[in-house]
């Protein structure tokens, strides 16, 4: 029991609940079904990217090229769909975008694995290459006539109901993609050899190599996974926006990494959980969307996010110290 209370995830959970209660007291509109549905919908893109980054951080690497990959995959997929008429089914579009993203992610892994370059620098470079390549060679025009299937996807809602004012609200189906991916990543990390290999690689790379993990395969898998998720996010984003804008989705990387770190993942590798990442994402989304409901000016948003990042990093460091002390006492 003590163990549970002391986990990062539990503290984070309490924090999210307290924040919700506080906002709800200040402004009961927070708890309206419409607002809750909106919050969940806005968690989808951040959450999906955060799950990808979680896997990368656990393995001890980092990726900051995923927003560029998302934009590239989205735009290229939409262009192809427009030109060929493929894409009367949303699954095809998701598949195309995920494949494009996965390839770009593997491109990152080539530099990181074979040329032994630091992931931060490689992805800093590829982020610029991919975004620049997209704008220079593919196009800068905003595509507004998206395939029907994308528009339909963004309109698809569950639990749809009519409010007394005539407005309809519902839960966007994209939330189920997030839930599904979260479950998959959870299963991957905790119940597959590949997942344990990712933790092992993040904890002690040399030892992981010696016991016989295939490091190359693990690296390619994780970078491709982030790329795939970025592709999916690109399509969801374009559907929500009703257009494919190649300039979109920039500057997301730091927020996403922040969400994962707030969720308890260790930037130096080897630690992190899916539930923590989801809670970290929720915390940042709630702060982003709801401080305004509390009557706080939007400038406070950045202050709050910054404070939370520092506090959560401090909490992790403190816990590490406690752990080490208790180990020494034994």
């Amino acid at each position: 029991m003590r163990k549970l209370i002391l986990t990062h995830e539990f503290v984070l959970f309490v924090l999210v609940v307290l924040l919700c209660v506080a906002i709800g007291i200040k402004n009961p509109a927070f708890w309206s079904l419409g607002n809750v549905f909106d919050l969940l919908k806005s968690s989808v893109t951040l959450g999906l990217l955060a799950l990808g980054v979680l896997v990368i951080l656990i393995s001890g690497d980092i990726d900051i090229s995923f927003p560029a990959i998302a934009a590239f995959s989205m735009y290229v997929t939409c262009l192809i769909a427009q030109a060929t008429g493929l894409g009367d089914h949303i699954a095809i579009l998701f598949g195309m975008a995920a494949a494009t993203g996965g390839l770009l992610g593997a491109f990152n892994a080539v530099f990181i694995h074979f040329f032994r370059l630091p992931a931060l620098i490689v992805t800093l470079g590829t982020a610029s290459l991919i975004r620049g390549g997209l704008l220079a060679f593919v196009g800068t025009r905003i595509i507004t006539d998206l395939p029907e299937s994308m528009v339909a996807f963004s309109r698809a809602q569950l639990f749809r109901q009519q409010l007394p004012g005539g407005e309809t609200i519902g839960l966007a189906v994209s939330i189920f993609i997030l839930v599904g991916v979260a479950l998959l990543v959870q299963f991957l990390l905790n119940h597959t050899l590949l997942g344990r290999g990712i933790y092992a690689l993040g904890g002690a790379p040399e030892a992981a190599r010696r016991v016989g993990f295939n490091i190359r395969r693990i690296r390619f898998f994780i970078f491709a996974l982030v790329g795939c998720l970025a592709g999916v996010v690109g399509i969801i984003h374009a559907s929500n926006m009703r257009n494919a804008n190649p300039f979109d989705l920039s500057g997301l990387e730091l927020t996403v990494i922040a969400a994962v770190v707030v969720g308890g993942a260790d930037i130096t590798g080897g630690k992190g959980t899916v539930i923590g990442t989801i809670l970290g994402t929720l915390l940042l989304v709630i702060i982003g969307n709801s401080l305004i409901l509390m009557g706080l000016p939007t400038e406070w948003h950045k202050v709050a996010v910054g404070a939370i990042i520092i506090v959560s990093a401090g909490m992790a460091a403190w816990r590490r110290r406690m752990g080490r002390n208790s180990g020494r006492r034994k």
Binding site: A200, A207, G212, G269, G270
Partner: protein
């Protein structure tokens, strides 16, 4: 009686790396249940031999026979299948995973199961721990364990693979006296079960205590081989280095006069309790005790890194309060830290820069800059004085061997012209030849009037080089040995009596 058939035999193994002949015509024979020690200085080919036994390296010539099967080469997988397990110095464990998972991970990989069944992981781990006869919390993250406990995990993991031969690379370097005893006990137990052990160690005393047979390598060749009973420390050292080393104790010169440099009176800290002692010019004083008895904290207090909670300190008869490293340096105190890699050196920086790092002020010219010529001159002086073997002062310290690195740290502090030198584990991970050289340098410094305090777990080191030895236990100074009592066995006896 027929000699038992060997578990593994190497015959005439040759191995070259580029232009370097790492092994030349090396033969080695290990029998089941035998504890075989491999001794040799750094660079003598020990690591290469381990790599060949574990299949990481392929020999250029010679033959390997396991059981009755003659093999031309051995791949890592074959080595593991045939029961050869290496426990590396860093254990190859995962600090972020639990003890249980660390134990079971090889097993998972070996069967290349796609899914991880936690129930079977736990069972594997429980069996492994039970086979070793120790009790461990399998759910504890490995990173929270002590070095000795991690080593147990590594051994238990090796046993899981039906190990027939466990190769231990420097297994006792980071262990305290009692932990070494516990390890040796486990080694004996494994031996009874027919598991052969290849013990690779610098610590000759342990080598002699545990081995049945030993092989000594020098420059890639076997220079001695035989039952351990036929060797003593001096003999092994001679074989390893090719030269006879003196084994005389350090005694104060006959005209020595008591001239206190440092006098601690009831010093107390977080774990240190009312420690009083004196260090005089020309003395080499040893400080030892079980791990965590307060020796390191005492040193850190004297060097201003940890605060003193009480007591007084006289330096050359003057009462001094040391609150920072600057204070300590001003009082003429130098400190060689326990972990030279992390605390003593700027690994990627050049040797020269490391040498002058503690005494930049005296190298400044009027403009406050350090002229490269002055820096080079100062560093060259120390390279010569301490016989540091390096092609030039400009290469990074990380390229040097352990013994030479330690001498760079020593040079750095000696350049501050200290009166009092405190060394914490000065020869950990340093090979026998360099160790001797460092000890000689310390004696010379003492002869020139420096007061030296050595903190060490290496009892023969203290016995051979100190004129007095202080023993700490639970933060208190409980014993002081001098003269004929400064003997490794006597100290060991005192330590185990707690």
């Amino acid at each position: 009686m027929e000699p038992a058939s060997p578990f593994i035999t190497l015959e005439g193994i040759d191995k070259r790396f580029g232009g370097v002949q790492a092994l030349r015509n090396v033969s080695l024979r290990i029998e089941p249940g035998e504890v075989h020690s491999l001794a040799g200085e750094n660079g003598s080919g020990k690591s290469t031999l381990i790599k060949i036994l574990s299949g990481v390296c392929r020999p250029d010539g010679g033959a390997i026979t396991i059981g009755d099967q003659r093999l031309d080469s051995l791949r890592p997988v074959d080595a593991i299948r045939r029961g050869i397990q290496v426990i590396y110095q860093d254990f190859s464990l995962f600090p972020n995973l639990t003890v249980g998972e660390n134990l079971a991970i090889n097993d998972l990989l070996e069967h290349s199961r796609w899914l991880v069944r936690w129930r079977s992981v736990r069972k594997t781990a429980r069996d492994a721990v039970a086979a070793l006869g120790v009790d461990m919390d399998l759910d504890q993250p490995l990173g929270e364990l002590s070095v000795a406990e991690k080593q147990l995990v590594a051994i238990a993991r090796a046993l899981l693979h039906d190990a027939r031969l466990i190769i231990m690379d420097e297994p006792t370097t980071a262990l305290t006296g009692i932990e070494v005893e516990a390890l040796l006990k486990i080694v004996r137990r494994l031996k009874q079960e027919g598991v052969a052990i290849l013990f690779v160690s610098h610590k000759l005393r342990e080598v002699l205590a545990i081995s049945d047979r030993l092989t000594v390598l020098r420059n890639g060749e076997v220079v001695a081989e035989g039952p351990a009973a036929e060797f003593d420390e001096a003999e092994i050292t001679y074989r390893m280095t090719g030269r006879r080393l003196h084994a005389n104790r350090y005694v104060l010169p006959s005209d020595w006069q008591r001239q206190p440099l440092l006098k601690a009176d009831r010093l107390s800290g977080r774990t240190v309790r009312e420690v009083s002692f004196e260090l005089c010019a020309g003395e080499i004083v040893g400080l030892t005790g079980l791990l965590g008895s307060g020796q390191t904290e005492l040193a850190l207090m004297l060097f201003g890194i940890r605060p003193c909670a009480g007591g007084t300190l006289l330096i050359r008869g003057e009462s001094k309060r040391i609150r920072s490293v600057r204070d300590a340096m001003a009082a003429g105190i130098a400190y060689l830290p326990e972990d030279r890699l992390a605390e003593g050196l700027f690994l990627e920086q050049s040797i020269e820069r490391n040498v002058v790092a503690a005494d930049l002020a005296s190298l400044r010219n009027r403009a406050g800059l350090i002229p490269p010529s002055r820096l080079r001159k100062e560093s060259d002086r120390w390279l010569t004085e301490l016989a540091i073997k390096a092609p030039s002062g400009q290469i990074p310290v990380s390229a040097l061997s352990g013994g030479n690195q330690q001498r760079v740290v020593l040079a750095k502090w000696l350049s501050t012209q200290p009166g009092i030198l405190i060394l914490n584990g000065p020869t950990v991970g340093v090979d026998v030849g360099s160790k001797q050289a460092i000890h000689d340098q310390l004696r010379e410094l003492a002869a020139r009037g420096m007061g030296i305090l050595i903190i060490s777990d290496d009892l023969p080191e203290l016995a051979g080089n100190c004129n007095r030895i202080l023993v700490m236990h639970q933060g208190r100074l409980v014993d002081e040995l001098s003269g004929a009592d400064c003997d490794a066995d006597t100290i060991a006896l005192r330590l185990t009596s707690f």
